[in-house]
Symmetry: C2
């Protein structure tokens, strides 16, 4: 199982954001929606061996962590709006201190980003411009947990958490959107037969 | 200048589609929006050496061809909804037999897909599962015109038009969304220093 962890530094942590303004009222919820679909959707199918962990850190009540498993998720469509509705349902289903399944394959909790990183410490692969070219990396683990920042990147504190990751890779000579990076990572995994 | 031509077989050819239902009322307009942003947007910038040609072929009055130039476009944001608004403005600005600029860098005409293909015949690169792996292709032209189908692929008639293309490539061992394919093509171009 490949995992993508995506940080949403300003992503709204209540379900009250407007579907017609995902970038503004949702704190770039559009970006997280694209990361989710980019991770899990093939042209006519779902990647059952991928899961996505979205770490929302915006107002009003961070952290909220939404996990979506490709082998269990239902009703996931490629468009941003319907994906945002699934995230709204997750935020609405939140109960303090619990891990709640809001719709099939989607759970929400208040596990902070630092703990997500700590739990996956041994299989972390950080996406960073300064990393090794993924095409040159000899061994990409079949259970890799790729960690990506949003348009704001990682804070100093987060970077310290990620400093000990076993592997740091880059996928492009240009700085791309997180969802584009995910497509490139998955292509490398597909080509290597990892997933 | 790299060009991406994307066919929207069912894409609505009037500006009356609903922004809250791009997949249904827009005839998968969400897919075209993602192709557009995937082609032109970097994390914090625009690809000025890329243009996108969207060939809309759905009801009520096909064809409509919308061209977006990276070196001239303004107000392009990564989210689907704001991109769809730009396409709506283009459809609303259409005048029969003319090429009309609706907003900076975006033009609309009724040039049919067949003519778009014919005009770019010498630099066509068709994206197709049966093509050569793009990583193995010795020479990717710096003025390549990549042609992609939507979720429906190409009709028999369109495939006949594309049969004489100088190059047919594939980017992935799995069948992906068009916007994901575009990210992979651009990565190969970036790595080769073509753009």
């Amino acid at each position: 199982m490949i995992t993508f962890v995506v940080k949403g530094g300003k992503a709204r942590t209540a379900p009250d954001f407007l579907l017609k303004d995902l970038p503004g009222s949702g704190g770039r919820m559009d970006l997280l929606c694209r990361c989710l679909t980019s991770s899990l959707l093939l042209s006519h199918g779902i990647r059952t061996d991928v899961e996505v962990v979205l770490c929302l850190a915006g107002p009003p009540s961070p952290p909220r962590t939404i996990t979506v498993r490709g082998d269990a998720v239902r009703h996931l469509s490629p468009d941003e709006r319907s994906t945002a509705i699934l995230l709204q349902k997750a935020l609405a289903a939140y109960r303090a201190g619990e891990t709640v399944e809001s719709t099939p394959g989607i759970t929400i909790s208040d596990i902070p980003f630092a703990e997500v990183v700590a739990r996956n410490a041994k299989r972390l692969v950080v996406l960073d411009e300064g990393g090794a070219d993924i095409r040159d990396v000899e061994h990409v683990p079949a259970d890799a947990c790729f960690v990506l920042g949003d348009h704001l990147g990682f804070t100093d504190e987060e970077q310290a958490l990620l400093a000990d990751a076993p592997l740091t890779v880059t996928v492009s000579p240009k700085v791309l959107h997180a969802s584009q990076c995910i497509a490139l990572v998955l292509n490398e995994c597909d080509r290597r037969g990892i997933i």
